[in-house]
Amino acid sequence: MDWQALWLSLSLAFWTVLVLLPVAVFLGRFLAYHRFRGKGAVEALVILPLVLPPTVLGFYLLVAFGAASPVGRAWEALFGGPLVFSFEGLVAASVLFNLPFAIQPAQRGFEAVPVEVREAAACCGMSPMQALRRVELPLAWPGVLTGMVLTFAHTLGEFGIVLMVGGSIPGETRTIAISIYDRVQAFDMAGAAQMSGVLLAISLGTVALTFWLSARAGRRLS
């Protein structure tokens, strides 16, 4: 049982959720409330990671963040090591490929806030931030939370992109999914089965939590 790899996966999922939480709230809210030219393009961009094969995504991310890229070079100058093949590089890639998982449910959550309720909040003297905190989030939070849970679960299982952008460096980028693959290649079926079981349990748990939360959100608004 590669505890280090599990810890790494959980850590990656945690940091991804942390970064995406404000993104989901603000971008999800913005997309829910505004209609503008080019909105379709923005939404398509957000969904893109869902429809692209992980290897394609991984490839583009490698090119975008790699040693030859401006981003990669700037990072290396600042921190002394490459962005790719590092944990931080995985976080960056993970944030990008989880965009649809985080933003879509949050957007739906905010779309469910009735327009009149938002208008009433403004008429009560609440600034947009006050309205967000006191009126909108209390109503939209199940959507936001679903987004975070999905992001967490998806990150735990992600393989192709993590392998491309991270390599399989023990303690740095060898997540549990990659570790399982590694065990199989080493013909350690028992080890692979054990880790797969743990990953399955965690994933099932998060999915069950999501369904429970959605049901709860449905009840509270009816």
Binding site: S11, G167, S168, I169, G171, A186
Partner: protein, 254 residues
Amino acid sequence: MPLPRRHFLTSAAAFAALPARAATAPVIAAAASLRFVMADLETAFPDALRVSFGSSGTLSQQLRNGAPFELFLSADEAYVQGLAHDGHLPDDGVIYARGRLSLIVPKSGDMEADATLDALEARLTAGHLRRFAIANPEHAPYGIRAREALIHRGLWQGLQPFLVLGENVAQAAQFAVSGNADGGLVAASLASAGPLAARARSALIAEDWHSPLNQRMALTPRAGTVARTFFDFLQSNEARAIFARHGFAAPEPA
């Protein structure tokens, strides 16, 4: 002066407080065929190492893109030489071992481990062949040699519809013994290793059936003291003995 980037991410959250994360253990890139021999080499070596296995081609690509490897053990010469030529390596290192190709057949199957490949041919002609696994001859060193051997034996064309290609030679070995294939041509170092030997029979393919598998290794620009020490260790007699135990031949005298 590089910022302590690891600190702000790792110390902030309990999650990221990983024990063996010390930047001291160097990362070694090793070809898939070295999977089992590396374990013994690491045990014999006093310092901690972190090994990343993969196909030589993939590891080479990763190095080009800035992977923080300090030593690269490839399964052939071309990749190391290519990297050196393009300036990603300070030099093209040394040959550390000579690899061998083996035929491998699952014990659960009924094909013989016949190094002449007569059994394979018989099966093919009789129409009983299901699948045969090799590493991808487009980029994997052992795959390239497997194709050469099969061409030499006149079986390459005939086997086309039955071939299953592994991304690296370890994956090919997996397919070969999975029970869904009749067998495969893989690295001898893998075929003779414990887990595989338990479930498969193997036979060495004659060396003159393919071009030599001179496996080259080189230190990268990032190489630190430990990596350099390991580099030297791998050329020692002790290391040579370990390689030999795992089915590698010694490098021919330069």
